[in-house]
């Protein structure tokens, strides 16, 4: 029996360890400075909340959110999660329910539409699908549930002029004009790099990621040549795609490794295009070893927190105001499907109530660079458009003629990277 007790005690220890690895049960502390800390709801209490079948308060409105990554990923999904908290705070009666890690690797055997139905069965009247990868699921779900409002973030199914218009009466899209944020990030990188080499840690290759990488390059090239007066040909800008929005061991390339490779081969600024913060963590590590390197994370306003001393700043999404608008419209019954590609509020790109896209400067940005970056932002606010000819595609074919300005369609569906950028344009 001695052995049995041994096995039991091993099980006990295992239980403690597993419990320790259970981060979800205690709500993460809200790190967003612009929002008051959300009231942590005790899990047990939340289950006692009345279910949708018998709403206790007539004004309660439940909206659901499917997050592609963990709700606390310090990136894309956390930005959405915080937007949900913002809506709860701004719209009386609004209540968020969500499922995170909605992807086939983390939740094998499930589909987004199935999970969305779970949210509906818990009372959701509006469901936000937060990833481009959920496009099929969002559309299938919208078709099957015409009574539910579906917001597919980053999609184009509701864009009449777009390539994939579906014309569903209950499907809307929202996306931020992150191209501006990325241009600012590129500019900050160009103003900082000493080696003239900028690395771009890309996710998978699609229209969205191509145009964001290209925008970053445009911003970098502009500040490199206009503010520093250097030859654009001297600026190296390389994109390495890892294969997905975040690391999936064994499936994607390891972003940590990719960032390492950048820093080890002379790239002293790495701009992250993925949803998680490996680039920043690696930069911090290299800094600790005495190397002058910097990084720019992505997506989430608080992302710099993980490495203030190497962070040049972060371009981020602020989904809250748009989601609050949709929820308000849904409650009022005035919601109509639309395709919203929302830019920054140029009066104050960091206004939490008005600006959909913003850029927070990081501690590692020098005072000179900071001043020049402000100048760049004000130029953009003043109407500077970098999507303007002459511009060539990566393979040398012309994209925009001299003086020609790209349309939304051309930018959204950018088919290739631009001349001067290294890296794959299409996946092979």
């Amino acid at each position: 029996m001695k052995r049995t007790w041994f096995v039991l005690s091993v099980l006990l220890v295992l239980a403690v360890l597993l419990a320790a690895c259970q981060p979800a049960a205690t709500p993460a502390p809200t790190t967003v400075p612009t929002q008051p800390p959300a009231e942590p709801t005790k899990p047990v209490e939340s289950t006692k909340a009345p279910e949708a079948t018998q709403p206790a308060q007539p004004q309660e409105f439940v909206f659901g959110m499917l997050l592609v990554g963990p709700y606390n990923d310090h990136g894309w999904s956390e930005a959405h999660y915080n937007a949900g908290l913002y809506v709860e705070q701004k719209v009386p009666g609004a209540k968020m329910i969500y499922i995170d890690k909605v992807n086939s690797a983390d939740r094998p055997g499930t589909t987004p539409e199935q999970l969305a139905e779970d949210l509906v069965s818990k009372g959701a009247k509006l469901v936000i699908f937060n990833s481009d990868d959920m496009k099929d699921g969002a559309e299938a779900f919208a078709k099957a549930h015409p009574e539910i409002i579906v917001i597919h973030a980053s999609g184009d199914g509701a864009w009449k002029e777009g390539k994939n218009y579906r014309g569903l009466p209950n499907l809307g899209n929202v996306m931020g004009r992150m191209e501006y944020g990325k241009m600012i990030a590129g500019c900050a990188a160009a103003l900082t790099t000493k080696t003239g080499q900028i690395g771009y840690l890309g996710p998978l290759i699609n229209d969205e990621t191509r145009r964001l990488a290209a925008a970053t390059y445009l911003g970098a090239r502009y500040c490199w040549s206009e503010y520093l007066g250097k030859d654009p040909a001297q600026l190296k800008f390389k994109v390495t795609w890892i294969g997905f929005w975040f690391n999936i061991p064994g499936v994607t390339s390891d972003p940590t490794q990719v960032a390492d490779d950048f820093f080890n081969s002379g790239y002293d600024v790495v701009i992250s295009g993925i949803d998680t913060t490996e680039a920043l963590a690696e930069a911090k590590k290299f800094q600790g070893q005495g190397k002058e390197v910097r990084a720019i994370p992505y997506d989430y306003i608080g992302a710099c927190k993980e490495g203030e001393e190497v962070c040049l700043g972060v371009p981020y999404f602020n989904w809250g105001p748009m989601y609050a608008k949709y929820v308000q419209e849904a409650i009022a019954g005035t919601w109509k499907p639309s395709w919203d590609w929302v830019g920054p509020d140029w009066n104050d790109i960091n206004n939490p109530d008005t600006s959909h896209v913003g850029f927070v400067k990081g501690a590692a940005l020098s005072a000179d660079a900071s001043a020049q970056l402000d100048k760049f932002i004000s130029e953009l606010a003043g109407g500077l458009n970098l999507w303007k000819g002459p511009l060539n595609f990566q393979d040398g074919t012309p994209f925009l003629k001299e003086g020609e300005v790209a349309t939304d369609f051309q930018v959204w569906y950018l088919p290739q990277l631009l001349e001067g950028m290294e890296g794959q344009s299409v996946s092979q």
Binding site: A105, P108, N206, V251
Partner: protein
């Protein structure tokens, strides 16, 4: 010597195992400051609470049952076909391949679906035959061979999805372009489960049950699994039987993959096997390789998987808790089996 272990004591020990597993899982939840009863209630409601939920359980049940059925064959032959994951994946790839080739042809959709299933079975068998070949002629243990082939299968899927079979213009983790709806397995109205996949799953386990319990093939396979040398001396062609076991398991795994493509995802996605191969191994271990129990226990596991989705929504608990419960259950059953044998030996 007379065996004293009766059906009844076995049952008591199995019950104890379930209690132990529940206790362990509850402990994990209590330590994570969650209410276990609430969690169990949510799992039950989330899996059996409505026709919709139950049909989702069935969607998971069919491929899991098919994988388990195949594994029962290899287990009987004394083989640990851990490569079943890869075999499911290859089944899915072959089905996708067949559909891609035929989707624009003039063949009727029904025929294309049938060809899809056959191709899936073929793909699974092909992958299994590699492991079998390594095991039988190369002396490579099927666990290592299987792990290797699983890895290759995953890499192949990713390559196909981001390479030759990528969606127009983009490569996306969401998989290949979905097939047109005529090529989807028809479902019950308003539900996700197809009567056809149910039929395949039930016929599958029935075939395995009869094969293993009633036929010479099953008995000889069991002999090969228990004592290969003695089986050989009795005149059983052990090599052929090992081949047959691998190929049969591959066939069933391939069908599971085909169901995933034709009935669930309607395209190839990166983790198309959904881990049903590994889960199937747990089921097979838990039922101690008795085919009669495969269907209900696989159902239970599928229900856990579906029901646990409620946990993050309602209780903000990670839904991998169902995995903890499943793992704890298998460990507890094995543990209790050991305890039972020790106690009975001492009596």
């Amino acid at each position: 010597m007379v065996r004293t272990s009766s059906r009844w004591t076995n049952f008591v020990f199995q019950l104890l195992a379930i209690v132990l597993a529940l206790a362990f899982t509850s402990l994990v939840m209590v330590l994570a400051k969650a209410n276990p009863l609430e969690a169990y209630r949510n799992i039950v409601v989330g899996s059996l609470g409505s026709i919709n939920k139950f049909s989702d359980v069935l969607v998971a049940w069919v491929p899991l049952l098919l994988a388990t059925s195949g594994l029962l064959v290899t287990y009987t032959a004394g083989l640990w076909n851990i490569g079943v994951e890869g075999q499911i994946t290859l089944g899915a790839i072959f089905t996708t391949w067949a559909l891609r080739v035929l989707q624009d042809s003039t063949l009727s959709p029904g025929l294309i679906i049938v060809i899809g299933f056959l191709s899936g079975a073929l793909g699974g068998m092909l992958w299994a035959s590699v492991v079998a070949f390594l095991r039988i002629y190369g002396g490579v243990n099927e666990i290592f061979g299987g792990l290797g082939m699983n890895f290759v299968a995953t890499a192949l899927t990713i390559w196909l999805i981001f390479g030759p079979w990528k969606r127009p213009g983009i490569g996306s983790m969401s998989g290949t372009e979905p097939f047109k709806e005529t090529l989807w397995l028809p479902t019950f109205a308003g539900l996700r489960i197809s009567p056809w996949s149910l039929v395949i799953g039930i016929i599958g386990i029935a075939v395995i049950y009869i094969l293993l319990q009633g036929t010479y093939f099953g008995l000889k396979l069991k002999a090969v699994g228990r004592n290969r040398r003695a089986a050989f001396l009795l005149g059983i062609p052990t090599t052929q039987y090992m081949w047959a076991a691998f190929l049969l398991c591959g066939l069933f795994a391939g069908l599971a993959g085909a169901v995933q493509v034709l009935g669930v995802y309607h395209r190839l996605i990166p983790s198309i096997s959904s881990g049903y191969g590994f889960l199937g191994m747990l089921v097979a271990m838990l039922i101690n390789y008795q085919p009669a129990w495969a269907a209900p226990v696989a159902m239970f596991f599928a229900a856990l998987n579906i029901g646990s989705i409620q946990l993050p929504i309602v209780m903000k608990l990670d839904s991998t808790l169902s995995g903890v419960l499943q793992g704890a259950l298998v460990l507890a059953v094995l543990l209790m089996d050991g305890v039972r044998q020790r106690l009975l030996r001492r009596r």
